[in-house]
Amino acid sequence: MVSLIMTRNVKAFLRDREPFTFIRRLGGTTGMLGLILLIFWAVISIVGPAIVPYSATELHVDVAYSPPSLGHMLGTDQYGRDMLSRIIIGSRSILTTALGIAILSLVAGIFIGFTAGYVGGFVDEVIMRFMDMFMSIPSLLLAMVMLGIVIKPGIWSVMLIIAIVYSPRTARVARSTLLEYKSREFVDAARIRGESALYIMFGEVFPNCLGPLIVEGTARFAYGIMTIASLGFLGVGLRPPTPDWGLMIAENKDLLLQAPWTVIFPAAAVASLVIGASLFTEFVDRYIRRV
């Protein structure tokens, strides 16, 4: 029942914001540029394995440090691996991880924030104070140390740890949107009808909170990309020989002056993806707040 009514309300939410209006308002804005960048990387990551000219991990020491040429369009790194292939394959892990972070942290945040906000009182106070304490540790620092204790970090541990670090922040957003609607008449009506707390939270309040939550989700996606790249760069993220963008930059950074292509191209890839995600987030935010 909950899920049925939920889909109905969610459909109503989407109907109010028709896709046509979305696209029309997207036209001619920087949001379009952001969406194009995101779609570009999404397509690259999906068709990646089919189009890469070389293997991303095989070593060819004889062609190490070749500058960009027709054979290797973006040059090769210290082991002679093709930079273009490594960047293409690397887009897969960063995109899936960032998407996972956005979804996981949002789900966890909704769960925590709604519980705290709905129950209220002492429970709310304890949960939110605990979240405040978690947030008193800078997020990159916390993620670094948590990853530091994982012996061999993979995509899953990176995803899970960043999602954990982000969930107090999403919980705050979820809680404040819930509180905005908690004292409205339709919630009172549902309570008097004798609906369960679960239904009121997810059937009645949740559809109204969708807007801010979607914005928070896209923002977490953009932050996630930044954090993944930074952790890879600091050497606590994915391990070699994975073609992780941040890791590629870290491996070659000492040769930035001698073989700039080994650093500049992955850096440009990170920059373009992050810019795309931020521009798109900004657009979604403005669209949902209807500014």
């Binding site: 920087t30 540790i137 930035l256 900004e282």
Partner: protein
């Protein structure tokens, strides 16, 4: 007011205590056999036993935490595990001074610039200048600082070789004798904050400029500059102060990556080295220091804000 401050400080101390527990659990309890992690998989049984004995790993976690906390409170930070014989206290202090110099340099660089640009952008909100500043702010804040740093090295050390790419201080000198090595890292760290503060100033100034009291001042016939710089700026800059304060926290994240990129001898680089070499006592001290500074920065921001804006009362928070 004073009651509020005291309350806040008590909560800060409590948070610091909880944070120290989190740090201790993360670094010394969760990983299982700490001695094996520090010495690696191939360590001999005697070496492991010796290290366990030295670090007191045979005792129960609660006792270990309390004695560790006791040592910390007495200012006894112990010595580094990796760099044998190096005392952690003086080492971290030296590095922290370098980091504060970098942070200070970037604050001096970005705060006036971003407040000024944000105000200009608000005055020209509906023209291309406003959008240009707003978009550049968004780009600046969304690119991770190490990417900015790489771009800067590429431009100013490779294409136009005018600044050093590495900020490594030559042995026997201090950073004060090598101030040109501070420029690129300081700019890389500040760009993120520059973006935030510019955009915040812009949006808050826009709403202030649309408010009734500013319109009244304009209609009264006061000069435009006077209204903007005297009447509007007072309220328009309030949110920017919060953002600057919040960004002190971001600064630490930025410092960690930027210091590693440039090899700048600061606290962030030391932390990364400590994590890589599994120097747990060193990592613990640095983390607690950063958390304490971060909380202090947040506290001071709220304090300054409540002093500047009488509508906000410290007691209510």
């Amino acid at each position: 007011m004073w009651i509020g401050i005291v309350k806040r400080m008590c909560f800060m101390l409590f948070t610091l205590l909880v944070a120290s527990i989190i740090v201790f659990i993360l670094l010394e309890i969760t990983p299982g056999d700490v001695a094996k992690i520090i010495l690696g998989q191939h360590a001999t049984e005697e070496a492991l036993a010796a290290l366990r004995d030295k670090m007191g790993l045979n005792r129960s976690p609660a006792i270990r935490y309390l004695s560790w906390l006791n040592q910390m409170l007495h200012g006894n930070f112990g010595s580094s595990l990796y760099m044998t014989g190096v005392k952690i206290g003086p080492l971290v202090l030296r590095r922290a001074v370098n980091s504060s110099l970098l942070a200070l340099a970037s604050l001096v660089f970005f705060v006036p610039l971003s407040l000024w640009l944000g105000t200009i952008a608000a005055m020209k909100d509906d023209t291309w200048i406003g959008s240009l500043i707003s978009i550049s702010g968004l780009l600046a804040l969304s690119i991770p600082s190490f990417i900015t740093g790489i771009g800067l090295i590429f431009m100013f050390s490779l294409v136009f070789p005018i600044l050093p790419a590495s900020s490594n201080v030559p042995p026997g000198t201090t950073i004060f004798q090598n101030l040109e090595r501070l420029v690129l890292p300081a700019v890389s760290v500040s760009l993120v904050m520059f973006g935030y503060v510019t955009r915040m100033t812009q949006s808050s100034m826009v709403s202030v400029l649309r408010s009734d009291y500013v319109r009244a001042a304009f209609l009264k016939g006061l000069p435009r500059k006077y209204v903007i710089y005297v009447h509007a700026l007072k309220n328009g800059l309030l949110p920017s102060i919060t953002v600057i304060g919040m960004n002190i926290g971001w600064l630490f994240g930025g410092l960690i990556v930027v210091e590693s990129l440039f090899g700048y001898p600061g606290i962030g680089q030391l932390l990364v080295l400590g994590l890589q070499s599994r120097d747990i006592p060193l990592v613990e001290v640095i983390m607690l220091l950063i958390i304490a500074l971060y909380m202090l920065a947040n506290f001071l921001t709220d304090l300054v804000y409540s002093l500047l804006d009488p509508r906000i009362n410290m007691r209510r928070q």
